[in-house]
Symmetry: C2
Subunit: 466 residues, 2 copies
């Protein structure tokens, strides 16, 4: 299957929704309602023998009754009713089917047998299946989704391949910035490798994120990944790490979790950025999205709190990074702003200077100084964020984003504290030049990720490309 | 010094503010303005030779001019001007002084010498000093603060002892729920041990949190801590972990950071809960504040996402906990609600049941079932949180808090995903029966912390108490 075949799933011209309910509104989880609300511009054929129309769209009793070309069918029916519908899709010449229903490979022996049957029928008829047990797809570039849960509609260059709808809904965790997403569910037919190849070739996608419970055919996947990872970062979160977790994965998506350590090793070798827990993907995506890679391991810390500077020092060292030795020029620039008694170094504690000259005047200058310092490869900024209305003088977002925008390809990551945190985070991230992280440890880890990626690109022979 | 002596700092009847500016409003960081705004009910004597009055309060030229009893003086002047003011405080019979000013042990040799001098003068005159280099205190129970930065005013039973104002302002990180806080700054006189003893005896304080850069006299501190930790949990975040971090600590508060591993060992022995990074204190305080301790290591996971259940399984195992074997009664209760094909176990994936019966109907019943299951010691709940206006049927906050309120002394921790996360977190935490964590890993770690505390209390002989 090539990328254009997956296009039928991600950007179909026409969709039949088999088993769509007339129930709409809050709590109905009506996927057609969600699809319309999402702004889908193609043709929808609701299939429901009891309804003349649904949400103002003419409904059909059977898929055979439609009599027009259909790119994609979405089936959401009790499991026993799915197989006959796949046969009907075959008869109607539909090339692509999403099976939303649960109770297949994720369930009992009967479910596993049913999954084998639908897969066999699909293969025989040249139909491709996504699922079962899936929310299907999101494509924010073409306003299309098959999710019955609400999702965020950002045209972000992030592709997500996952085995759970959790990631489609997961605002505030993981990657809330999904531009295109494919939930492979139980993965009876369409696999990680196919989706990876698709996003690898898609010019709209710059970062590929993966949530993986298990992999049927590791070898082709890792071989493909090692080619794609030279072009685009691949961020992977493997679950089912523990023995108990592996058993749970078997009963969720029917996946064989395999040995976690082998996965980690294979990922590292293929240049895949490997996430060790459920908090990491957020930081990986935030930093990769708007930061250049880290060319060396010398970090400057600018802080308005000495205590925060110490925490940053600890966190950088834990993550294999070093405090940069700041140049005489940088130190002098800051010494001119600071009281004479202030010992200046790295971490660069600018609070005494801020008390003399104001936050806006000092923070931007400090950032500019370290960004032009040749001994500095990246910057970690620590700042207080008070409420911007009451404390306008503390709003450093403008001076920071201005300085960061002129940067010499050095990453600038930040950690903020104080009640105005959310507001200032939004301002800082708007320009896509500074990423803000939830803990100092997470910011330091993200810098190490930008270094890991750079080192992979430096040390891996270019070899074959896609 | 006994606890009542620290009372002069935390709850003075009268305060002189030496070096207070006439400048007020946003950006002025006027600590007197902040004190008034905070609702302080005692008497304030601003000392400023140039001002007749400040914010409507009569100002005095010198401290000697006041002629009335003063419990506490707060000095915020350039460092060279501090020593004469301490002498003036001695002459005026003031027993307690907070030195806000920087540039002492945190700075150059001159600063270190000045710090020795003010300490000597204070000792000679029986004056106690908090600082230098401190925001001073917060006491939300008596509406008093000396902080020039805005702070949150929650009457929470959390005492904070720290070496940075960062923790006073740190909403959204660390402990945003400080009820009383003491920033010991450079700690030239008032020490961690004294503050610990004070909070140990204070009936308003149930949990003691500590941010420590270094400790001059470890032995008495750990000896005291091992007594207090039998009564109240002590949560400690030690910074200056790395060699570079230790150097940074020396130039921040003049502290000797010492060997991190020795600190960790001493803390564990004294029953102090030891935080390994800057994200942990948030989870520790959130879980300890409203959760009973964990009596065994058998955890039930209730989830609306199979993928989340697997992540929870991984995270629990990493943190030394086990999945509980659910009783026949629990499984039957859920089987009655689920489709027949649904394999039920732990993690308890209730989504298929939710699709049949609605979220509100199922989640509360599931929680009640596992809370009354004798094979379960604690519960980790995973739920989607959509916007409550549009998806009222998904708002499980009421059924969860009701079930948790009837619990048999078992902790209930939660992780939420989706755009309604913040809103539902607030609802769930309002009742102080469920704590919500930012990642599944953090929720699992918090459960292990509740277990660690329980095991410490079980295995430590009661011995002497406070």
């Amino acid at each position: 299957m090539n990328a254009s075949a997956l296009d039928r799933f991600l950007n179909p011209k026409s969709v039949a929704i088999i088993g769509i309910s007339r129930r709409t509104g809050p709590g109905a989880y009506n996927l057609m309602e969600n699809m319309l609300h999402y702004g889908y511009q193609g043709v929808i054929f609701p299939i429901n023998p009891q309804a003349g129309e649904i949400l103002g769209v003419r409904a059909y009793s059977t898929i055979g009754e439609v009599g027009r070309p259909i790119d994609l069918a979405v089936i959401s029916l009790p499991r026993e009713m799915v197989l006959p519908q796949i046969e009907a899709c075959a008869a109607a010449g539909i090339p692509a089917v999403i099976v939303v229903s649960q109770g297949f490979g994720d369930a009992d022996d009967r479910g596993k047998a049913l999954q084998r049957e639908i897969t066999a029928v699909a293969r025989k008829n040249g139909i491709r299946i996504l699922g079962p047990n899936t929310l299907g797809v999101i494509n924010n570039f073409d306003c299309f989704t098959t999710s019955f849960m609400p999702t965020k509609r950002e045209k972000s260059p992030i592709g997500m391949i996952c085995q759970s709808g959790l990631f489609f809904v997961g605002t505030g965790n993981f990657t809330e910035k999904i531009g295109k997403g494919i939930d492979i569910g139980n993965g009876c037919d369409i696999s990680f490798s196919e989706c990876l190849a698709c996003f690898g070739e898609d010019p709209a996608i710059e970062i590929i994120t993966i949530h993986m419970e298990g992999l049927d055919q590791p070898k082709p996947f890792f071989s493909l990944a090692s080619r794609i990872s030279r072009k685009k970062p691949i961020v992977l979160f493997k679950t089912g790490q523990s023995a108990a977790g592996a058993r749970a994965a078997a009963s969720h998506s029917g996946s064989m979790a395999g040995h976690y350590d082998l996965y980690r090793t294979a990922c590292k070798k293929a240049g895949i950025l490997f996430m060790e827990n459920d908090g990491r993907m957020y930081d990986a995506v935030h930093s990769l999205l708007c930061q250049p890679l880290l060319q060396g391991n010398r970090i400057a810390v600018i802080t308005v709190t000495g205590a925060g500077g110490i925490m940053a020092t600890d966190a950088l060292e834990k993550n294999g990074l070093q405090l940069a030795s700041l140049s005489h020029r940088t130190i002098t620039a800051l010494a001119d702003l600071s009281p004479e008694w202030m010992p200046l170094g790295n971490p660069l504690d600018i609070w005494p200077a801020v008390m003399k000259h104001g936050m806006g005047n000092v923070y931007g200058q400090a950032l500019e100084a370290v960004l032009t310092d040749q001994g500095v490869d990246g910057v970690l900024c620590i700042s207080v964020a008070l409420d911007a209305q009451t404390f306008p003088s503390l709003d450093i977002s403008k001076s920071l984003t201005t300085a960061a925008a002129q940067k010499n390809q050095k990453p600038v990551l930040a950690w903020l504290y104080g009640p105005g945190r959310e507001e200032m985070t939004a301002k800082l991230e708007r320009g896509n030049t500074i990423s803000v992280h939830r803990t100092i440890e997470a910011a330091a880890w993200s810098l190490s990720l930008l270094r890991e990626r750079q080192q992979f690109l430096e040390t891996t022979p270019q070899g074959r490309t896609l």
